[in-house]
Amino acid sequence: MSETILVVVEQREGKLNRVSWETLTAGQTLAAETGWTLEAAVVGSGVAALAQEVAAKKVAKAYAVESPKLEPYTPDAFAAGLKQFLDSQQPKLVLMPHTYQVRDFVPKLATAMGRTAITDCIGYKKDGDKLLFTRQMFQGKLCADVSFTCDAPWFVTFQNGSFRGDQIAEGAAAAPVETFNVEVADAVVRNKPQEVFKEAKQAVDLTQAHVIVSVGRGIKEQKNIELAKQLADALGGEVGASRPVCDSGWLPMDRQVGSSGQTVAPKLYLALGISGAIQHIVGMKGSHTIIAINKDSEAPIFEIADYAVVGNLFDIIPPLIEEVKRAKAGG
């Protein structure tokens, strides 16, 4: 019997999360290379229509894993419901996107099944019969190829942007859809989640900016933010920041770029004193041109930069502002 790869896609309020298509693409390429069967599952309450949507892609089967207890999301209900489903299906490999929701329940689910999860992977390799999953470590400075040394099911989560969702293969015909009802007892769900909300109206929509001048820890002090503002003004852009800068209160949270902030893809992203932790990079790696200025020549931001300057940003920015102003004035 062929082994099965199961992709658990993510939905919120009746809509599939965009990264779900990336994970399905990963599942398709893995299935092609291993010869294993690819199936997909949507988890929630009333998700049959979403399973139909997934069934249009190149998959052997799509499941709607259903229970009224799965809405709203709680880690207790998701782990319990998925455990029932996986116990009955016994897939070899379970793939999910590395979202905040998945991070919240996957370690619990894997532990409840006596298994482990290799999380936040950016790719995979096939080494003979062995599957290796590649993940970043030490804040992106190093990569590791990690293998499973336990029995299946093997749990893997893929980082946002690791596969191309737009390269997903459509199915020749719609795959069969099956509803799998799970039982989640009342006592199982201990958390009571309230409505999801946004803190305040976002004053700045960085996603609309053509130029973003972003600052990281390397800016050192709040008063130095002014330097970035001047450069952004000269370039007609907005100021963004990495998380530590916003945590310090030097810039408001709505200026934050990264997994917990905004995801941007401007024409120009200028990273000043940003080392390039994964959480930041996922929020800006789609930028058309990335310029990085950092004193540490080994900063991971340089891995994805088009133009790089190793040096002290306080030496480079003032003359850069002057040059940009002069160029704009037609000089």
Partner: protein, 256 residues
């Protein structure tokens, strides 16, 4: 409230890392510091204790050098520390680290266990959630605020893209704490002095061995990532670099 804070010692952010001979871990001779999210977890525990009374206990697993993390925590105000001391703890996967912690604290009764939301070395973001499952406790991740009312707590979870959510949950519980939940304090001189007399319990691998198994996952190879992008390095004195950059901005990036 009695709170346990799980902390980890990780290589310093700017520390250049070198691979070991077998190419599956880094060489030990780097500078270490406390994992940043864990520092916020400790600070939150201290603030909860100041509000509600109780005790803050810190725990770590690692070789002798990791004691530094516990000493700093004691100096900041933690009441006592537990050190699972052995080189072998460095290579444990999240499941086995959590198993070792659970075994080491089985005689204690905590109301809350905090961890940082992830470590800066492995970055798995798993140990706290795994520990909750092993203990049979509820958990919530990426926490930005904690309010206690009677026997329950209300926590504020951070979600993606600027969204948040309040979650009501019973105690005891495990929470993974997000960086920036509070402002970190510094240790005072008197705190550093007092820390020397605070209890620090050492737990040898042998004491928790029965609870751990062989790792369920294995790092086969660690390496410097291959560049996928061509990066042009601009060099020279600042004024020259500024000119070169402006030239790129005008002619290549076309934003001027």
């Amino acid at each position: 409230m009695k709170i346990l804070v799980c902390m980890k010692q990780v290589p310093q952010k700017d520390a250049p890392l070198k691979l070991n001979e077998t190419g599956n871990w880094i060489r030990e001779e780097v500078s270490y510091e406390v994992n940043e999210p864990d520092a916020y977890a400790l600070e939150e525990a201290l603030r909860q204790k100041e509000k509600h009374g109780g005790e803050v206990v810190v725990i770590t697993a690692g070789p002798a050098r990791a004691q530094q993390v516990l000493r700093e925590a004691l100096a900041k105000g933690a009441d006592r520390a537990v050190h699972l001391e052995d080189n072998a703890f460095v290579g444990l996967d999240a499941l086995n680290t959590a198993r070792a912690f659970a075994a080491a604290i089985k005689e204690e009764k905590f109301d809350l266990i905090f961890t940082g939301l992830q470590s800066d070395d492995y970055g798995y973001a798993q140990t706290g959630v795994v520990l909750a499952e092993l203990l049979g406790w509820p958990h919530a991740t990426i926490i930005m605020q904690i309010e206690k009312n009677d026997t329950r707590i209300r926590v504020k979870r951070e979600l993606e893209a600027g969204f948040f959510q309040y979650v009501d949950m019973p105690l005891p519980a495990v929470l993974t704490i997000q960086s920036g939940i509070n402002k970190l304090r510094y240790a005072t001189l008197i705190g550093i002095k007092q820390a020397k007399n605070k209890p620090l319990r050492k737990v040898a691998m042998a004491e928790v061995q029965a609870a751990v198994s062989a790792n369920l996952q294995k790092i086969e190879r660690l390496y410097v990532p291959q560049k996928t992008k061509h990066t042009e390095f601009l060099e020279g004195p600042p004024a020259e670099v500024a000119k070169k950059l402006t030239d790129k901005l005008r002619n290549e990036v076309r934003v001027l």
